[in-house]
Symmetry: D2
Subunit: 239 residues, 4 copies
């Protein structure tokens, strides 16, 4: 079944090309690291990046994507509105979306959530613990009581999001903050999962537990029951 899930990993792919520090950690880009991990788990994976034509998100790519993964940070404003609109429509029509880390400020995430998605942050190598608060949820399959990340950027509350339909992870940081780190939403027929960790200067996406959560999220967000909706002017039904 996993093999039938077609994943498109979208990455801004700027930090990796500009910063030798980041390039050392993700020599083939964050998308490359995730593509390798998800391919090995059996998904059908492709990647797309900001500087490709149409940001790599042509109609053909979008039509053939079951779940999209989104990483962006420094170039959110450069993502063209008409591409955002197409991704948005695909989510409403059923495509799953997994938004990672600094993707919280992406146009597509804010458009789907309806809020500013703002937060606290700090780059000083806090330790992070992501506690499972929804045991039994498929996104937590194979994960223990919590995930520990020796170093991560801190994100702190109040996180400017609507109340998640399901809150899956809550993070603890050494510096004293907490954060809603794993949040599930439905928009239209599409499922959305936000997953916090993944600062570009840290090897978080090489972590097998983080890769496991992302692959669980892809399976969870895979559309299974999409349909053409009947809307507009409709006659009265028979009595």
């Amino acid at each position: 079944m996993t093999a039938n899930i077609r994943v498109t990993i979208w990455n801004e792919y700027r930090h990796e090309r500009r910063s030798p520090e980041v390039a050392k950690i993700y020599p083939e880009g964050i998308h490359g690291t995730l593509a390798k991990a998800l391919s090995e788990k059996g998904f059908t994976v492709r990647t797309a990046t900001l500087d490709e034509p149409e940001h790599g998100l042509t109609d053909e790519v979008l039509e053939n994507t079951d779940v999209m993964i989104w990483w962006g940070h420094m170039a959110h404003p450069e993502v063209r509105d008409e591409i955002v609109q197409k991704v948005y429509q695909r989510v409403l029509d059923g495509m799953g979306l997994v938004v990672l880390h600094s993707g919280h400020f992406s146009k597509i995430f804010k458009k789907l959530l309806g809020t500013d998605c703002d937060l606290k942050w700090r780059e000083t190598n806090d330790k992070e613990r992501l506690w499972v608060v929804a045991p039994g949820h498929p996104i937590t399959e194979g994960i223990g009581d919590y995930i520990e990340l020796e170093h991560e950027e801190m994100y702190g509350e109040p996180f400017g999001i609507p109340t998640p339909e399901t809150l899956v992870f809550v993070s603890w940081f050494t510096g004293g903050e907490v954060f809603r780190s794993g949040c599930c939403y439905t928009r239209g027929q599409g499922k959305i999962f936000y997953f916090r960790p993944g600062h570009e200067t840290l090897p978080t996406y090489h972590n097998p537990e983080i890769q496991l959560v992302i692959s669980n999220a892809v399976r969870w967000a895979n559309p299974t029951a999409t349909r053409k909706l009947i809307r507009g002017n409709t006659p009265a039904l028979e009595k």
Copy 2:
């Protein structure tokens, strides 16, 4: 307390000026009818309409509005994006918002909800019954088991909205449809209530029960605990 709640009723105010049929029902506009009703209940009321400068929504008006009521239909695209952005920011900062009937397709509602807000509809004088499904909720205060409207436009499911935080009313229509007619949301520090009835060719807003629900909703949406949020780069806390 009611007297301290400053309400701005925003109305597109086009149907009333173009259609004698509508003008007969709402000679001073839908906003005029609602302004009278809410004033009599003790609220501090002002109105604003599309064709005023800045759609009547200057910074001064927005800053001095606790709860905004929104009715629009034929001219949604004419509402300028920068005004929508200001209303949006005010909601995130705590201003309440009560969206009526065809306002489901307004820019501000879709922007705050993150979905297309599409639905079925039919203009053939169905009877509507709005059933209370959240008894005890303050928006239902003074309302019986249900509200009956002899004639209303039908709106039918599937309504393209995120799952309401609280579903307050569900409508039954003669023609065989149902609709989630009273829906509560929080976005940022602001509360939002969508209330279905109110087709411009029908005297719905003269109905005392409909006026009561709207005034209850204004009281419910009135901000009481807004604050300046601490976000951005923040140092670690003391151990």
Copy 3:
């Protein structure tokens, strides 16, 4: 995968043995009809009834059940509290539970929901339409815009339940009422789905669409990520 889901269909099985009218519709009991339907769809099915020892719900049966279906009506008080407690614990540990029709008043449903689950009802052959309000939800797979049942008992709001995590169906009845007919909950690691239709004097469970919803619900409620929880007195973690 379906073959690996072990379903136990629990039925009170009193109406069918006492009423010739009911027996004619369900000669092998409601559980028999559902067992046949689910077996044909490939599930591993067993049944259990009130008048068997331990109501048919021995520890061995419970341990080997992934999803339980529950139908009861006239004999709710006869279900022994210690059996209810075991079913309850199994749900918290991850077993799925699909509660049908008059099971809304069963001990197990009220215990898991925390409310009285009361409602309106009427037995006069209303027509029922179950509208899909959560398109894209796996429980709606294969179902059109709505399901129509020519005759069903009416259930009406206000239904005494907590706000569903996801509301999947809303019913319309000829007599003028609406009802939240398909409701999803999580309790502990277990998923619960309440599905309204199924009066014993009507052939509802022979309806292929109703059977489809029930089988979808079983797949949805099947536990996939259960775990042993770490609770109680725990030492501080390493810094």
Copy 4:
């Protein structure tokens, strides 16, 4: 308005009478400390304790209580089921309920929530920070970014509760855990707030911010729109 809210503070009142250490902190009982604080804020307050006849919760007391506060710990099993049933019914009928700290394991809380309410804990003087994650919510009025408690018992996830309708606070503990510390629910017409802090050996309930949250919660849980529900066998409505 506050003066019209009739609060009954229920306390097990055993630790204070058995342990000199606890008695030193709460010489008049935890209920006495809270009663003083709430009276000074203008509420109409009475108290009730386990060892009074009917645990102090006579029909007369229950009928005249708008919001009940509940603290219990070592003697949960001694609370009689018929009293629990009466409190439960009053909540469904609209009475507010604020459950404090170890009250998570009380019969009334588990009965209303439908889960086991289990958790991790540790008594070694962790520091606790309660972060506001629902800014704008009335329960947070007057509270800053977070509340800091120099010493508190740790409670850790996974907390065995249904997803809160609104999650208001999330706690951080020095020892590395997080906890959903302020949780809102509706059951029937009644509002419920669970608030974590308040170990008997620590002066938490003397803390003005903790007192402020509790008084905000009482105002939030005060019933405003309760009604007699129409249920049971009902005739069809007019077309």
